[in-house]
Amino acid sequence: MPAPLLVPALVGVAFLVLPLLGLLIRAPWSDLWPQLTQPQVGQALRLSLVSATLATLVSLVLGVPIAWVLARSTLPGRSVLRALVTVPLVLPPVVGGVALFLVLGRQGILGRYLYEEFDYTIPFTTTAVVIAETFVAMPFLVISVEGALRAADARFEDAAATLGANRWTTFRRVTLPLVAPGVAAGAVLCWARALGEFGATITFAGNFPGTTQTMPLAVYLALQSNPEGAIVLSLVLLFVSLATLLLLRDRWLGRSGAPLA
């Protein structure tokens, strides 16, 4: 293995892993069990996983088509569209939460109608958590899937067209499977970003145990009074999400475009 790759890779891994080691050494392990058995922690963990997963699913449904439009269509405004899609990446999440209020809040552009017609308000519900996470995390999916689509060989799509597949069938049965590793990578990024989402969620959805308090919010609160407990909580979040990723590993690594030998 070439040293110019191996050495930076080792340095990089050390850089990413050592802080975790520091946390592990420092964590008050004796607190672990009491923390874990607190009902609020279980609730927050469950809510985090469920809402991050829902946000990822919504992002896949809405984001993969956006990526396809950016990579494959010939619309004139594509570069502006791409720039707009990256907006939530750069917006500070708290401001993102405020922006969501302006659209979906009770006085928001759209939220007003919901409230007046159906007496329904989105903020401060679990739905709001999913929306806030989706808003913040979806661009990660869009950008990485677009990259994968651009790198993929479009001639296979020609072949599908000659076999009678319209663009939708081609997308579903050829393009998507071909870029599966890219979509998987994008989904992982999106899920992780949603799982760690804090600013937009606490602003737009509030911090109600059981309905909107996700793990990062719980960690934030714990930091106020019990910093060591907060570390334990974040390690719990960490291990659960790593376990999930490791379990899914075989799936998202399934296909590689490379031949076997």
Binding site: R106, Q107, F208, Y220, Q224, P227
Partner: protein, 252 residues
């Protein structure tokens, strides 16, 4: 622990008296929006109120006061708002969302927090003018920073901080980790940090007392329970709990 904690015998007797005030007939759901620094005290008080009123459910929404103020002005379903400063309460009252005038239910004063053993050899407020020391104070935009500016002005010290923290908690974390020699924080935070930090009181703190206002809101769905919670916080029992957490009773 923090040296500011004090317990006076009077409040512990009145705590027993006020516990019967609830009467156990409150029902429904009570939603309290409270500054994050109140998490532990309010959670305990809430548990107590729920124990007295089995039909009552209390949900808390703890966050930064400014986030809470934004949420309330955006129509959040809140019955009670307890802010960590007057400024964010003003945001709510300016919007006309307060059902009655806010009252100050507790106060907080600044204290110097140093790592255990005081490795930086901090003795008083004057050390904040020493550029060789690693020091944290709050940013002027947040209440503890405004208070810090006031005390430094009063003491005639030009502060030489290395960082302007966005909240007290962030400053305290750095003290706990031994990464700064001292930070200017609230007494209640020193108390909450337990053995992690040591507190040093200083006289100029009285020039910048931080007041916590509380009020019920116009949109309250459960005004009776809201009032009961307010009463509990202002009762001797509530005040004792706050005092135990390092806050102090309003001076007026």
């Amino acid at each position: 622990g923090g040296s500011s904690s004090s317990s006076d015998a009077a409040s512990s007797t009145s705590a027993a008296a006020s516990s019967s005030a609830g009467g156990g007939d409150l029902t429904g759901t009570l939603t309290v929006f409270a500054a994050a620094s109140l998490t532990d005290v309010f959670t305990d008080l809430g548990d107590q109120l729920m124990a007295d009123n089995p039909e009552l459910t209390i949900t808390f929404n703890f966050a930064g006061s400014s986030a809470l103020a934004t949420q309330i002005t955006q129509g959040a379903p809140a019955d009670v708002f307890a802010s960590a400063n007057q400024k964010q309460m003003t945001v709510v009252t300016d919007a006309g969302l307060d059902a009655d005038d806010p009252t100050v239910f507790t106060e907080n004063v600044l204290e110097i927090a140093v790592p255990p053993g005081n490795p930086g050899g901090i003795t008083g407020l004057a050390d904040f003018g020493d550029a060789d020391k690693t020091l944290a104070i709050c940013a002027p935009d947040v209440p503890c920073g405004a208070a810090a500016e006031t005390v430094f002005a009063a003491a005639g010290i030009t502060a030489q901080p290395d960082t302007l923290e966005e909240d007290v908690r962030a400053a305290l974390t750095k003290v706990e980790l031994g990464e700064v020699d001292a930070a200017l924080v609230y007494a209640s935070d020193v108390q909450a940090a337990g053995d992690g930090v040591e507190g040093i009181e200083f006289p100029e703190a009285e020039d910048a007392v931080n007041e916590y206002p509380i009020c019920t809101l116009t949109g309250a769905s459960n005004p009776e329970a809201a009032q009961a919670f307010l009463d509990l916080v202002e009762s001797d029992e509530g005040q004792q709990a706050l005092t135990d957490a390092g806050f102090r009773s309003p001076s007026n």
